[in-house]
Amino acid sequence: MSDKTEAKVHRAIAAAISSAAAKDIRPDMSLRLDLHIDSVGLMTLAFLVEQETGIDAFSRVQEFVAAESVADIVAIVRRAQGLMV
């Protein structure tokens, strides 16, 4: 279950960015420093995570603003799904 969540989040991130890094997304990657996600990119990411996972991402905007890494986004989704992180 949790692997599926991670895969969906990675897919959403890959769709949100256009760099070569999209091919090799890892949990420890920094959203801003490694994947170069800017303000519009973060909104795009929240939208795509919503589409991929079905969570209400925009009710958790504070968590998205505070998220630093790929793993943080996965954790947001798991929290929203009521899963342990």
Binding site: S30, L42, V61
Partner: protein, 312 residues
């Protein structure tokens, strides 16, 4: 720069009370256009919600936490007065002044306050500014020309006389901003007359590596009392900083972040890390010049402040 020596010369209180709805609405408009262009049907309401999430730190506790993490010792809180030009402001300039005073006092030694008063408020505005710097001990003036006045407007001269008397710098927005305001009136060259007429006042052109960088650099080179801050580098690229550092004006360039404007793009520590990581500093730039950029220039400007005679 991990020894907490950095001074951030350009920040704001992250609260909706400081930014009228018409101002933030324009920012959201630009974001929405970008998202629509990318083919993403994100409702405007959701974009607004995401943007508003960056304005959740009215007492600057989160900012202090991020400053500590980033090695920022002090930050200048800028209070532009939008209340004359944008009548949907939710708080009066007096209320905002009081809030800034409370925030500064809540975090002793961490914040300076530069206050703006729209010159069209007349004598009431001048008296408020005078009270701010003499009684509250605020540290400078913040101007926002897109609200409808040029930097060398004669109506500002009484304010500059106070700044000259008390050794206070004037920091002015330069270039484009929220679409509900004027862009053309905020050109750097408009500082020239005031800088000539008030050689004892230091004028800082905000976002000087982002908007009109050549004109800003020319003014820094040729007017002894004109400076720039680099806020906005987070969005507009490190390469512009690299160019600026090679223009022989490193004694005029001040570090600034414009918190919370770029909060969706990362933490304060991340922005500072990016400077080295993405090659902001030319190889020939000396450590001394880096120190001037991160804190020395700011310390020099802030140290000119004189205690008002009436409070000695």
């Amino acid at each position: 720069m991990s020894d907490s020596s950095i001074i951030d010369f350009h920040s704001h209180i992250a609260s909706a009370m400081c930014f009228p709805p018409s101002f933030t609405s324009g920012v959201v408009d630009n974001m929405t256009v970008a998202l629509q262009a990318a083919g993403l049907p994100i409702p405007r309401e959701k974009v607004t919600r995401m943007h508003d999430a960056t304005l959740d730190d009215p007492w600057c506790d989160e900012l202090i936490s991020q400053m500590d993490e980033a090695g920022i010792r002090e930050a200048v809180l800028l209070l532009p007065d939008f209340t004359y030009a944008l009548r949907d402001a939710t708080h009066s300039i007096q209320e905002l002044v009081e809030h800034h005073r409370l925030v500064r006092d809540r975090h002793p030694g961490r914040f300076r306050v530069f206050v703006g008063v729209d010159p069209r408020w007349g004598m009431d505005g001048l008296e408020l500014f005078d009270r701010c710097v003499r009684e509250h001990g605020f540290d400078g003036m913040k101007l926002y020309p897109p609200c409808g006045y040029p930097i060398s407007d004669p109506a500002l001269y009484p304010f500059y006389e106070i700044c000259a008397e008390l050794g206070l710098p004037v920091l002015t927005h330069i270039g484009a901003t929220a679409p509900c305001l004027d862009f053309d009136i905020a050109r750097p060259i408009f500082v020239d007359r005031a800088a000539r007429d008030f050689p004892g006042v230091d004028f800082v052109l905000a976002h000087g590596t982002v908007h009109y960088p050549d004109e800003c650099a020319m003014l820094c080179t040729n007017r002894p009392n004109v400076y720039i801050d680099v806020s906005g580098f987070e969005a507009y690229g490190i390469h512009a900083l690299h160019s600026a550092f090679r223009r022989g004006i490193n004694h005029k360039i001040l570090f600034g972040t414009d918190w919370p404007v770029f909060r969706l793009q990362g933490r304060q520590s991340g922005f500072i890390e990016r400077l080295e990581r993405e090659g902001a500093f030319p190889s020939e730039m000396s450590n001394r010049d880096k120190e001037l950029f991160f804190h020395g220039n700011a310390e020099r400007l802030l140290a000119k402040k004189r205690i008002p005679v009436s409070t000695v």
